[in-house]
Amino acid sequence: MSGNHTENGAIIHVKDLVAKYGDTTVLDHVTFDVARGNIFVILGASGCGKTTLLKHMTGLIPAASGVIEYGGKNIAGMDEEELALMQRGIGIAFQSSGLFNSMTVGENVALPLVEYGEVDPRLIDSIVRLKLSLVGLANAQHKMPGELSGGMRKRAGLARAIALDPPIVFFDEPSAGLDPIMASGLDELVLNLKALLGITFVIVTHELDSIRKVADQVLMLDKGVVIFTGTVEEAENSEHDRVRQFFERRPDEFMTQRNI
């Protein structure tokens, strides 16, 4: 195991996180640090707890036990107001975009700006267009989410997530359901946003190409347990069988047997 980042470079610190749905343990003593300004990729097979981990990190689901710290503050100890304040500092782009269907794309992006009321009202329209052109949707401002394709919706969701210039952005399955051109465009965008705005990204994905392109740190989950943390190169050269299997795209045995 490697990739242990120093405490002071970590923007998010997770220690011994346990998550349960009923009696089923979904995350079992998960511990890791996310370094500031990095692209942190959580990967693993379907159903291994990736999205659950993301929802815990963003405070959407309370943990059964364990510590999740932002800048040294544990979110388990926060009251509702403090949690809301913490959540303002992060952007979340959901797997199915989470756009409000009753508003135009532009209104969706403007929503956090208008609600928090901290920016000059004259500027809101410009910010909306800026964010939309960042994700390549300059012409979609007055469209309804229902009129967009899946990939466009995903990008609009990202535009809304970065509307308030959060230092941390969580991105659930950015390339799921996108064509390769769109997916690699999204990778470029993530790299650009990291370079230009210094945004820390926490991305859940299982697209190998995307991981190789963007990841600074990789964390791999298997059945709720962390089986690897480190860089992509380290992951590709790992001795761990499950990690190797993932990067070599080898199917599980029960699946190959069935095909015979």
């Binding site: 004259r122 410009s126 390549g136 300059a138 229902g146």
Partner: protein, 358 residues
């Protein structure tokens, strides 16, 4: 060609951006607006948003807009937001004129009637004819629906009819007492509930309960592509979803209505016995004399028609949903409003038929 050249500050952020914007706003721009970014070392996204605002301002005054001299990170950023700077904001769609709106509305009504006609034919076939031809009827979901629409609605429909019975007895007692004819409250409640009130009250409660549920269920299934999945497997939506609901409700609503008649008469009796002080056998006798099988069948027959209306209107609206969560809400509301309208409208037609013809 003339140009207005503006030197940008070293750091372009929310504050310096606003100053820059206000400066330019106060100036007269001739020819084109050129921003000199050679001295700008850092640019954050609010600063960049002010650049977009400046580009808009220039366009609004029919002037050109250009950024010059940007270097390093600033140049990268400007490159990334280029489309936002150079393209005009797409104007929101114009709202159509009155004539256009009238046309749109008429076309959509015609379209909906057509759609309903096709749906109706399909639903009637799969509900009434296909089971007779042995083409399969989903008994399991039929039984489920009977439980959901009937057994679980029993308490609320019974209670509503009982309370309405009380109210009718109270209202009529005040009038009839003046003529010393209080005993006829029993007749009035019996006849009113048999012919009219039980059917209407039960149908309204069931449309709010079951009609809304049907519309919301089918609308959610449509939004989540479950309907498409059914069609994609070559299965018929009417057979699978509509027929069990229509048949179950057509069976259950008359039963609920019959129980509603009993509940209403019971409600009236409570008033008659407790407040008006009649002997129970006198009241019972009077009620039984007023009870007429023709009236009761009239009420039950109407209940069957109401059931078919509620189920079909609910399914029709649910399957027409577009958009997401909001669409589901709109269609559910629409289903209940249409249900109640059609129930009252059809009841009026029945009243006219019974008055003039029978």
């Amino acid at each position: 060609m003339t140009e207005t050249r503006i030197q940008c500050p070293r750091e372009l952020n929310q504050e310096t951006g606003r100053q820059l914007f206000d400066d330019v706003h106060a100036k007269k721009i001739s020819g084109s607006l050129v921003l000199d970014l050679s001295g700008t070392e850092s640019l954050d996204s609010l600063g960049a948003a002010w650049l977009v605002a400046l580009a808009d301002l220039a366009r609004a005054r029919n002037a050109g807009f250009e950024c010059e001299g940007q270097q390093g990170q600033v140049a990268d950023y400007i490159g990334l937001i280029g489309p936002g700077l150079n393209s005009e904001a797409e104007p929101p769609a114009e709202s159509p004129g009155v004539l256009e709106q009238v046309g749109d509305t008429s076309l959509s009504i015609v379209g909906e009637v057509k759609e309903f006609y096709h749906f109706l034919v399909d639903a009637v076939y799969w509900t009434a004819l296909a089971p007779l031809e042995g083409r399969g009827f989903r008994w399991n979901s039929f039984i489920d629906e009977i439980n959901e629409m009937g057994a679980r609605a029993l308490r609320i429909t019974f209670l509503m009819n009982f309370l309405l019975g009380l109210i009718i007895a109270m209202l009529s007692a005040v009038q009839l007492e003046q003529f010393g004819a209080s005993i006829y409250v029993a007749d009035l409640v019996m006849i009113a509930f048999a012919r009219e009130l039980a059917a209407i009250m039960t149908a309204v409660v069931v449309s709010a309960r079951t009609g809304a549920a049907i519309a919301a269920e089918l609308a959610t299934m449509k939004v989540q592509e479950e309907i498409d999945a059914l069609k994609g497997m070559g299965l018929n939506v009417s057979q699978f979803l509509v027929a069990p609901k229509v048949l179950a409700l057509a069976l259950v609503l008359p039963i609920l209505t019959g129980l509603g008649m009993i509940a209403g008469v019971l409600g009236g009796s409570v008033w008659g016995l407790v407040v008006l002080g009649f002997q129970s056998d006198v009241w019972l006798n009077q009620t039984m004399m007023a009870a007429d099988m023709g009236d009761i069948f009239q009420g039950l027959f109407k209940a069957v028609i109401f059931a078919i209306i509620i189920a079909l209107v609910g399914c029709h609206n649910g399957l027409r949903v577009t958009g997401g969560a909001r669409g589901v809400g709109l269609m559910t509301t629409r289903a209940v409003v249409m249900d109640i309208f059609f129930i009252v409208f059809v009841d009026m037609i029945f009243a006219a038929i019974f008055y003039y013809v029978l």
